[in-house]
Amino acid sequence: MNSPLDSTVLFQIGPVPITLAIVTTWAIMAILVIGAFALTRRLDLRPTRRQAALELMVATLDTQITETTGAAPAPYRGFIGTLFLFILVANWSSLVPGVDPPTAQLETDAALAVLVFLSVIWFGIRAGGVGGWLKSFAAPNPVMIPLNILQSLTRVFSMFVRLFGNVMSGVFVIGIVASLAGLLVPIPLMALDLLTGLVQAYIFAVLAMVFITSAVESGAPSPPNTDLAPSQTKKES
């Protein structure tokens, strides 16, 4: 068994090594996009059960964003929702025989963490401008500037380490147990891995949302809108 910390390079495109995690990510992306396209082809005013389930998912996400940020969910829905869906599918891809979840690789989790870090900056600047975003580091007073800068780095680092550690350890444990105890013994652990994957996806998405919210609230010139999700969705265009 290979070390989970190692990346398996399948082929090279120029100087770029294409690892198994990247290919799996592409597959997950294809499944998600094609599936989303297929599911959202015929949306009507009279929803089918499929549409109702999709709308329930989006409404739940909007409610979660609104309850966490207190702001309209539309600007964050795409990023946060995609993060959650991708991490969830990636985590659960370990259940497919022969597939290693991309989130069990450091690069993937680090890439997600980097995206969250950049999105915090992006949403912070968009809400309060560059000055507002920089000022958010001086909250509650300028003495906290070094600590805030360090915090903005370490919290992202802790995110991807948490995700990587949980998923990798799950894959590792299942691999060990499967190699030792045959076919049926890993099943409870795999079921536990399902729960772990869901929880980790939720935690990652919620933390990303909280970080973005803190940047937006600190840099914003005015108090955020505290309207609830159902009324906020009307602002979507």
């Binding site: 990247i22 009507d44 989006v58 795409g78 680090a110």
Partner: protein
């Protein structure tokens, strides 16, 4: 342990692309469907409110119209009542006038009938009185009364003019002496003689009986009657009473 920076970058790009793609094909379409349904529901609500407002306005119009109809009905009823009262008063007045006329006419008729009845009663009372008197007098038809009537007749003949007496004597069919009761021959002869003596000459005299005289003697010829009886007296009284009434 090494970090594959190419892999990190590629995965970041992959996730970014996924975010973009899912935003286009999943999040926005589903959120748009929710928004469209909310807008449709809102539009339906607004339409319902508009319809409700229109219905309320129509209801208010109907209520106003109904109030107007009620007022108009009251006015028509009041007008009809006034007209009916006027007609009733006129009718009542006309009826009162007619009733007064009828009452006056009835009173006049009653007075007339009463006068007529009173006259008739008076006439009948008079006739009855005369009848009673006749019956009473009939009981007093005695020879002395007869003798008195004979004396009065003779006196009446004596009071007649000579020409009248000559006419009686010359009467072709003779002179009739009417008595109330049958008389005996001697009495008859006495009466004839007394009358012949009063008339003078030789008149043709015959004696007849007429009980309706009650009592008395009368002298009759073809064109002359000399009344001298209680019947004649009673007739004279009756005539006087009738003329007085």
């Amino acid at each position: 342990m090494t970090l594959d920076w190419w892999g990190l970058g590629l995965q970041a790009i992959n996730v970014l692309i996924l975010v973009w793609l899912l935003s286009r094909v999943f999040w926005r379409p589903v959120a748009g469907a929710i928004t469209r349904r909310q807008e449709a529901a809102q539009a339906l609500l607004e339409e319902g409110k508009t319809a409700q407002a229109k219905a309320n306005a129509a209801l208010a119009d109907i209520a106003a119209a109904r109030t107007g109809i009620a007022a108009e009905r009251d006015a028509i009823l009041a007008e009809a009542k006034t007209a009916a009262d006027k007609v009733a008063k006129a009718t009542l007045k006309d009826a009162q006038t007619k009733a007064d006329s009828l009452i006056a006419a009835a009173r006049t008729a009653i007075d007339r009938d009463r006068n007529t009845a009173r006259k008739e009663n008076a006439t009948r009372a008079t006739e009855l009185s005369v009848e009673i008197a006749a019956r009473l007098l009939d009981r007093f038809n005695t020879p002395s009364v007869q003798a008195t009537f004979l004396a009065q007749l003779v006196e009446a003949i004596a009071d007649m003019s000579a020409s009248d007496r000559a006419a009686l004597i010359a009467s072709a069919d003779g002179t009739t002496i009417v008595t109330a009761t049958d008389t005996e021959d001697a009495e008859s002869a006495k009466i004839e003689r007394a009358i012949k003596d009063a008339l003078g000459g030789t008149p043709s005299v015959r004696l007849v009986t007429d009980p309706s005289l009650i009592a008395g003697l009368e002298l009759r010829s073809g064109h002359f009657v000399l009344h001298n009886s209680w019947r004649a007296d009673l007739k004279a009284i009756l005539k006087e009473v009738e003329n007085a009434g």
